[in-house]
Subunit: 160 residues, 2 copies
């Protein structure tokens, strides 16, 4: 098996200012937005640059991040940005796509202003909308729909 | 804004042989699997190494990949592995997690044998299960649920 160098380049940045959430796509990648405007939701892959240190990338477990969860949990059982490869995937509600200016307006994204974006994918229910969800007991009371998350009291669920 | 080097390291490999689909996690990352076994589904991030050439990474549009789709479509409106950063995200049904041996058994994954895996995340409906899906007309007849995809006639949907 050949040893591979896996490197990423930013295709854009998150803008999160004054309650507005947008993704600005670099000029060279704007043609790649053609046809995206028909989709109601996208998956945004972003680089958690604030968690990109050798120490954070070596973390494999964390201490009780969830109020009702176990005392120790593995990073791959969380969506923490501190992980071996600090990539986050966020499903986001699309307000508009302006291909010419490379602007995707979103209802919300949980990434800070300036965060590098590495990919945009259309949300397809055939691949991602699971009917029969199974969850561990500690998060089985969490919302069963994306749309119900905005009004859920998340502060009670995290210890930090 | 600092210029960042964004590099990935494989945390494991896909094994897809004889109708069995597993992910083998490298020994150093196995503690990160703790607590994953309560989740029915995971998101697998994998490196599309067969699409990792400078030419393929420069593609921004493609010619009519979908039978009912437009003549030209942007890469960010597709889930093609040929994209600026060749990362695929697959939601997969978990059969079992063996943390000690670093083996995750899946019902299926659309990655070839030996593909590098770069991340595993739990599937949370609160973040990913969209109730009110909007799709462009050319794919609005595709399955509305993950579970219905296995029996759908995908061959008719792709021109390739």
């Amino acid at each position: 098996m050949k040893l591979q160098e896996m490197t990423l380049k930013p295709i854009g940045r998150v803008r999160a200012e004054k309650g507005m959430f947008t993704i600005e796509i670099e000029e060279q990648y704007r043609p790649a937005l053609a046809g995206l405007d028909g989709f109601g939701h996208i998956d945004v892959l972003w680089w958690a640059d604030r968690s990109d240190t050798p120490e954070q990338r070596n973390i494999t477990t964390c201490r009780k991040p969830y109020t009702h969860g176990p005392d120790t949990i593995g990073i791959f059982a969380t969506r923490s940005p501190q992980r071996p490869n600090p990539i986050a995937v966020t499903t986001a509600d699309v307000i508009s796509v302006d291909q010419d200016h490379g602007i995707i307006r979103l209802s919300y994204i949980d990434a800070e202003n300036g965060t590098p974006v590495i990919d945009i994918k259309p949300y397809h229910p055939s691949g991602e909308r699971v009917r029969d969800v199974v969850l561990p007991p500690w998060c089985s009371h969490w919302p069963r729909w994306y749309e119900d998350s905005a009004s859920f009291d998340w502060d009670r669920e995290f210890t930090g």
